[in-house]
Amino acid sequence: MGNAIEVNHLVKSFEYYKKDIGMKQSLKNLFFRKKLVKEAVNDVSFTIAEGEMVGFLGQNGAGKTTTLKILSGILHPTAGNVSVFGYTPWERKKQFKQIFSIVMGQKSQLWPDLPAGESIFLNKCIYQVSDEDYRRTLDELSELLDVKDLLGVQVRRLSFGERMKMELIASLIHRPKLMFLDEPTIGLDIISQRAVRNFLKYYNEQYQATIILTSHYMKDIEDLCPRAILINAGSIIYDGELKKINAYHDERKLIKLHFAEPILSEPLRAFGELKEFDGYYAVIEVGKEEAQICLQQCLDRFPVMDFTIEDLTIEDGIVELYRGSA
């Protein structure tokens, strides 16, 4: 399969005004304002293959959403090339708009005072979906998400999770082969989060849809996306398999120890980096090779009640990466 998305040296900068506090500054601002430039996306390049499911990770304001908005044609970039299925997104061609959809967890395209079915039907007309396809897709999706009985209920009477499911149906009614999801699970309870995740997985597998996802919940990305792109301060700091994100950390292990009686922290520091400690419980980070020996010595020297040796979590790896790029 070919590439769905190619991004080369993408740059997006925003202009903003600096405002100082105080009466004098306010008066000054009336006549003169200092313009500043912020690089939201700074020289970003990547490619995504058709049918891939990729997670964008990054802190607030890292540039994830801005990148998504450029890919979907909402924003013009300052510089760089983007090709999405051969289209330049910000030309906003009608054919281009037919092949993708974007879902934002914090923005709703549904009419709050109408049943969700009406908004979905409106999208059917806007996207020029044939009656037959519309019936079929609506039946299939509403059944999968288990909201068939709720299509006739006013959106503002729906729960948050139900609303997001309707949002998904509305944006998939034209069967896009590309989906952008910006925090689709934000504010959802665990059950709804899982339902949304399972659904996305199904849609990706069933229709070979390319899906790009941003989320604050590691679980979303871990479950869904084999590949992750990590963005920090507008630049990509990691692009590859999520599991390998802590390649460096594969060389490290965590030893977790529970003690029968309180001990002092000082002797523990000799073994490695002491990550957590409260007298009865300690977490030490050590090299892979030393782990065995360290543990042996700890068992000998301290009243250890229980212990485990673990890999570092992906989140640990990500935090480490941020620290490295800062």
Binding site: T65, I74, L75, I102, Q109, D113, I126, Y127
Partner: protein, 269 residues
């Protein structure tokens, strides 16, 4: 052929919007009724001008108070049309830009300008204006002894249509400014007060204001030309201009719209 299909599709979607708007507004019956009251209050303020015209037996440029009433009625009628079709949408456009809601509309495969311009049709608010305006036009019409022929009625309606397009083009400008400026309430306020320049037939203004308001920012066409044409008081040049102006204006707004879209920097609220 393609144009016909597209036109039908847009009209169909427009009908859907109208249906959805009506259902939505029926949800809030109290708002619906208070909306009517608000407009009735504004209508009252406008009727003060009528009071003055009749109390002082005002004649302008050979127009009797009854003929003037027809101009005022046209103005009120168009205020109703503006309130019903555009006012809410333009207010919302500013809101979409500020909150970044526009993002979800940009990605739809349909003209964005169409989508945001006619998404909400207001049902309650225009009622007082449309009733009062129609009555005033009817009274003015018959008192001015204009023949009630098919041609006259068709002409009047055609000029109302032209007026609606010009209204759209002029009144959308403040909303478009919100792509560049955070707070545009003063610009809206100015556009409302320019709108109210049509409270009176434009013959009361001096020549220069008349020219600017007819040819430069053609607000005066909106409420003056429809009555003037049935009174046979439009020159040939003015009739041609009445046909050309909405086209030129619409093209200009289209250009401005495209500029605005380029300036759009989606907000992350």
């Amino acid at each position: 052929m393609n144009v016909v299909i597209e036109l039908r599709r847009h009209l169909y979607i427009l009908a859907l919007f109208a249906k959805n708007s009506v259902i939505s507004q029926m949800e809030y019956r109290a708002n619906f009724i208070t909306g009517i009251f608000v407009e009735a209050a504004f209508l009252m303020a406008k009727l003060l001008y009528v009071v003055i015209v009749f109390k002082t037996n005002l004649h302008i440029d050979g127009l009797t108070p009854d003929a003037i009433l027809m101009f005022m009625g046209t103005h009120i009628l168009l205020t109703g049309i503006y309130m019903g079709l555009f006012y809410n949408n333009f207010q919302r456009l500013t809101e979409y830009v500020r909150s970044g809601m526009l993002d979800l509309m940009i990605v739809k495969p349909i003209s964005l300008q169409f989508l945001v311009s006619v998404r909400y049709i207001e049902v309650g608010m225009p009622i007082p204006n449309i009733i009062a305006g129609s009555v005033m036009v009817a009274i003015g019409w018959s008192a001015s002894e204009i023949p009630f022929t098919f041609l006259n009625v068709a002409l009047f309606i055609a000029f109302m249509f032209i007026a609606t397009i010009i209204t759209y083009c002029i009144m959308i400008i403040p909303a478009l400014l919100s792509f560049w400026f955070v707070n545009t309430s003063a610009a809206s306020e100015i556009s409302y007060s320019v709108w109210d320049a049509n409270n009176m037939p434009y013959m009361i203004y001096n020549k220069w204001i008349q020219r600017i308001g007819t040819f430069f920012i053609p607000v005066f066409i909106i409420t003056n030309f429809a009555p003037l044409v049935v009174l046979h008081k439009l020159t040939r040049v003015e009739i041609v201009w009445a046909i050309v102006a909405p086209i030129v204006l619409f093209v200009l707004i289209r250009v401005l719209w495209k500029q605005a879209m380029k300036a759009y920097s989606s907000s992350n609220l």
